[in-house]
Every structure is written in C-alpha cells, then in structure tokens.
C-alpha cells in the first residue's frame, strides 16, 4: 500500500466524524457523562449527543441500581441521567437532580410544553418519549379467521379460544409475566384496570380487594392460552415469540414495536398491528400504565457543567435525531411521524378515561417488589388468590416498616 492510499483511507475514515460534528450546533468543550437505560431509543439519543464531542455515554440496563448512588456522590459521577417515571423517584427524593427552569428558558426553545416534567411547579426532567403496554396482534391471522380486535380482556379470552381452535399458531397469547418486576407490572396493569388502588392515605396496602382478586383471576384465565413457561417470559421473550410467529397477540411495550418490522430478525414483517390496551371492566381505563422516559441533570456539578450537559442533551433530543430514528420510540419531540405501530400507544394514551401514569412513589417501589416476589406462588398453584394478596400485603408492610414509611 502506498503512502497515498494510506492517506486517502485515513481521510475517508475521518470524514464521517467531521460530518457528524457538523450536525451539532455548538462544539462542546466540557466533558459530559451520561448514564441511561440501554434500549434503542437511548442509543439514538446518546449517539446524537455524542456528535457535539466530549460526550461519554454509558448505556446500561442496570442503570437503576447505579444511578441513585452515582448521583448522590459529590461531584456527581454523571452529568446527565436517563430516567423513567419509576426510576426518577430516588433522585427526586434525595434531591440529587437540579431544577431545569433557567436552562429551559435559555436553551429549551424547541421543547414542547408537554415535555417538561414538573414537580411542584419546577421542571425537574425533560421527557423525550412515552411508552405503554398495549395490544399487539397479528393482523393476518385476525383477517383470515374473521376476528374483531378485542377491546376488553373478556373479549380477548373469546378471541384467544377461537385462535386456539383454528390452530394457526403455537399459542394465541403472549405476556410479559417473568416472575419479579415483569409479573408485578402485568398485575399492576390489570389491577388498575379493575379500578384498584395500591395504598391508602396512611400508606397501608389495599391490594387484597375485589380488584386484586379479579386481576389475578383474569391473569390466570389468560395463562391458559399462553406458553406454559410464561413465568420466565420477559419483554424480549414475547418480542421473539411474535417475531418467530409463535403467538397471535400480547399486551406488549410500545417500544418493542419497531422490532416487529425488523427484517433481520422478524418473520412477520408488516403483519403485526397495535391497538389500545384492552379494558379490564366496562367504563374503566385501558388496563395499563403510561410511562415516560427522559433526561435529568445532576445537582452536584458546577453550573458551567450543567449548562454544557443541558445543551448537549438538547442536541440529543432535537428534530434531526427524531427524523433519523422515527420508529425507535413514540417520541414527544416535534418532527415525529407516528407510524402504523404507534397507533396503539396513541389510542391508549388518548382513551377516555385515560390510564394513569405509573406512580413514582417510594410506596410503589416497595409494592412492586412485594408483588414480584409473592405473586408467582399464585401461578404455580401454591396459594389461592386471597392468600397470595394477603402475603403481598404482609411483605409490603414489613418492607414499609423497615423503610420507615409506616409505623
């Protein structure tokens, strides 16, 4: 190889970098570190941030265990944090993130008002996308069998029975029911759908109620149409069941939609559609919760660093990024064009009455853990519904006493 070709190769490899840096409105001189979850949307956002230079992004699905301690350090180990409505709680509680109103006024001219997460009037986070669990289904199977898309879970049971009878897929239903966090979240959806309340004003648990029993009974009825290994089935498992054509419908995260049309992985490209999450009871809200993902800025850093971090974040959350990654999420950022698979999430979020946001409270964190640990016994048949819910309440009370939330 001659020196000339070497130089050419060097220039070619440099080209994309300089072109990419041109995409950022300013050249960032201050080192900025980001800690966020690791799914596709975060990859898109942090890549866009990196265009400004001096950005070091850590995408880690275990971010939730690292973030509280890392942000409590002084100086904070990260400048920008990626959070969701569940994971912002410890940061808010311990006061390790800063109000963003001044920065929004100065640099946030492109933000839509509904992106600002306000706590007591102060902007504490900037949302970038919404996420929810809603009904995804195989349009081709529904057409072939002449089935209506179910709007309630009772209808879903009937539809599942018909699909089972027609024997067109391995299992009519899939569900994110892996024991632990996923199973608890599946219960939360159904429980809220039946009008349940997790705790009362004194932080005492109120899940051992009619709504709780109804939710468990409905979930159990649905498992009849699932792969019997549903207690190890997380979001990725259900996504793969869809992609491999093994299931016909599931209440799955909107953020998994793009994977259905990924030609490299999916055998059902263009065949999966999304609809609003079914209702658990007539007149109720869809049996699901609304989630948002967004960014926060650490408190324990200098104002200059915070400023640089915020400007970098704004570059990550701009219209350009959304246009390049339109299908990676249900973006809240201007320039987003909802595609076929986003319809379900939008229908869910704009239902009347609308499903609640996942509550970001300490109590909910404890309740989620208690549910995740105690519910499996109901599905393995070790305990009946009421005994299970009583055990959940006991576990919650013990944890809440230890955490000092109740006497």
């Amino acid at each position: 190889m001659t020196l000339r070709t070497l130089m050419m190769a060097g220039m070619v490899s440099l080209l994309p970098v300089s072109a990419a840096q041109a995409d950022c409105a300013f050249e960032n001189e201050t080192p900025v570190k980001v800690l966020s979850a690791g799914f596709e949307a975060w990859k898109a956002v942090t890549d866009a941030m990196a265009e400004c230079g001096n950005v070091d992004a850590e995408l880690d699905q275990e971010f939730r265990t690292k973030q509280p301690a890392a942000f409590a350090a002084n100086p904070s180990l990260y400048h920008i944090g990626g959070v969701a409505n569940g994971t912002i709680t410890p940061l808010l509680n311990e006061g390790t993130i800063r109000p963003l109103d001044d920065l929004v006024a100065e640099y946030g001219e492109n933000l839509a008002p509904n992106q600002l997460i306000k706590v007591d009037g102060q902007t504490m986070a900037i949302a970038m996308m919404v996420n929810t669990q809603h009904l995804m289904y195989r349009q081709d199977i529904f057409d072939e069998l002449g089935l209506e898309v179910p709007t309630t879970w009772d209808e879903a049971l009937e539809v599942a029975a018909q699909i089972e009878e027609a024997d067109v897929v391995d299992y009519p239903l899939g569900a994110t029911m892996k024991s632990g966090w996923n199973l608890a979240q599946d219960f939360n959806n159904m429980f809220l759908g039946y009008g349940g309340q997790f705790t009362d004003a004194e932080s005492m648990p109120t899940v051992n109620t009619e709504a709780g029993v109804n939710a468990l009974e409905m979930m159990k009825a649905l498992t009849e149409y699932m792969d019997p290994e549903y207690l190890v089935s997380d979001s990725t498992y259900v996504q793969q069941q869809f992609q491999q054509g093994k299931i016909a419908m599931a209440n799955l995260w909107a953020s998994r939609g793009a994977a259905m049309d990924d030609e490299a992985e999916s055998q059902v490209v263009g065949k999966v559609n999304a609809a609003a999450a079914p209702l658990a009871m007539e007149g109720g809200a869809p049996a699901t919760t609304l989630w948002w993902d967004g960014i926060v800025i650490a408190r324990n850093i200098s104002d200059e660093q915070a400023q640089a971090a915020f400007r970098v974040a704004m570059e990550g959350l701009d219209t350009e990024m959304v246009k390049a990654n339109n299908d990676a999420a249900i973006w809240l950022i201007s320039g987003y064009q909802p595609n076929r698979l986003a319809e379900g999430a939008i229908a869910t979020a704009s239902a009347e009455p609308a499903p609640p946001s996942y509550p970001s409270t300490s109590q909910m964190g404890l309740m989620h853990t208690a549910l995740g640990n105690e519910l499996p016994a109901f599905f393995t048949g070790e305990r009946d519904a009421e005994a299970t819910l009583a055990a959940v309440e006991d576990a919650y009370i013990t944890a809440a006493q230890e955490a000092g939330l109740i006497e």
Binding site: K118, L231, S357, G365, L405
Partner: protein
Amino acid sequence: MKFRTFAWFVGPSVLMMLLFIAFPLVSVFLQSFQVTQPVVETVEVETCTPGFVGQTCVTETKTTPVLDANGNPVTTTEWVGLLSYTRLLQFDQVGAAIASGAFSSILAIDFWKALRFTLTFTLVTLPLVIGLGLAIALAVNNAARSVRGQIIFVSLLPFIITPVIGALSIRWLFYGDGIVTALLEDMLATDISVAANGWAIEFLMMFYRVWHVAPFAFVIFYAGLQTVNQDTLESAIIDGASRFERLRFVVVPHLMPLIIFVALIHLMDAYRAFEEVVGFSSQAHRITLQWLTYDLLTPDDAGNRAISRASASAMLTMIGIVILLIPLLRRTWRDHKGSAR
C-alpha cells in the same frame, strides 16, 4: 523462622483478610441488629407528566425524606434487637401454619422456601459430586497413558467455563424449544415445557451443579490416586481381593482426607448457591438463601433496599454453613489430634 520474618510474610495476607473479610463481617453482624431509616415527611406535591398530546397534572400526598442543610437525607439508626431476624423468619406465620395443620404453607414463606431448596440442593449434589469425581478419577487412572491427557482436558472443561455461562448453556438446551426439549418432543410426540415445572427446574439446577463441580473433585482424587501405596495394592491382589474390595479397603481409606476436603469445599459452595437461580430464572419456583440476601439488597425503582433483613439473612446463611460443616470439621479435628499423639 524468626517471628519478624514470619510477620512480614503473613502480614499482607492478614491485613487483606481483616479488611475484606473480618471488618465487613462485623459490619454485617452489627447491621443485622440495626435499622437505618430516613426521616420522612408527607407533603402535597403536584406532578405533571406527559400524555401524548397534553399533560396530566395530579396533586397527591407523597412521602419524601427530609434533607439536611447540605441536601443529604437525614437518617436515624436504631438498635432493634432481633427484629430483622423475626421479620425474615416470620415465626408467627409458621406458628399459624402449624396450628392449622397446613405444613406446606410454611414452604411458601421466602426464607423457609429458600432453606428447603438450599438444603436439598446441597445434600443431594454432595454424594453425586464425590461419586462422579471418584469414578472419573478411577477411569482416567486406568486409561491408556496415550489418551490420558486428552481425557483430563475434556473432563476439566465444565469446571473452566464461567458458572453463569455454563448454567445458561444448559438452560438453552432445555427451555422453550431448546434442542433437547425439541428432540424429546419429537420422540414422544408431546408438548414439553420444562420451565413450567418446579421439579424439572430443580433437577436441572442440580444436574448443572454436579456437571460443573465434578471435575474439581476429579482433579483432587486423581492426584490422590497417584500416591496410593502400590505394595499394599499388590499384596491385596495376592490375597485375592477383588477390584471392588481393593477400592473399598485400600483406595478409599487412602483418599479419605481428600474426600473430606472435597466435601467441605462443596458444602460451603453449594450452600451459597446463587448462579443457578440467575441462570435458570428459577425465582418463581425455587430460590436459594444467597439469592434471598441478594434480592433484599437490590434496590427497587424507588431506591429502597432492605439492608437490615439482608444482613440478617446473610448471618443466617453463615450460621447454616457452620452447622453443616461441624460434623466434618470434628472428624478432621479428631484425625489431627490422633496423628499428633
């Protein structure tokens, strides 16, 4: 050796042991009798979160920690005696279960469920590991010299593989439409769901542990076999001892100290089984004591972690190991005293 030299040699090691074993242990021991809580207050908070089009604002009463002047949460630490232990052991529920005759419901309580599985797991795998290790060692010892190297290498492979990866590879063979499951389904023309059955998962977890640890036992026993007194063996043959009798009366007694050593290590390792639960995602059906400690220590989304109960659980696990080891340690101690006399 002069004391000074001796101290220089062991000093670093003692320091490390104090720093990384003794002090943490004391700290965990103390924490198991303490509860540290943030001072909390209830406040009205208005939170606005995005919908797809507009925003929804809700005002709710939230419990938030009180922050001090530096912005750090104020905490209180109290001595609570055995409270964390009672919360973990849940004797009131155990009592209620015994009174009502529903003994099986004891095993639905996390600690007892974990204890039941951990004990079964440890005691069932122990003889299998020793038996299989000894069998491989004898087989290799009797194999032709030319193939010994290859056989040793292959037998050691399971031990070299990272534990979680080993567990995952066995999981992938059986879970869902794994190769083995698919094969069995084809042969038997039925639908098999391994991960839906607690006993099947339990079996796989034990199978994995034996597969993973037997090579360790094999290496130790194989080394021991090289030192068996050949004269004794020959005279046993002349006396007309069969192959089994030679094993029973010459080889095994010679290997006894090593068998006890392997048993000690295995009991300690198996009692704190953890990677099996992660690898096989068995939480719904089977949990171990070590996993229980880990689970209590893992913060939830809101950042809560049950440190006191986790400490209590860790202490109980340690006590469990000590109890299991007592018979073996007593035996070693007796042998030691015997040989010293």
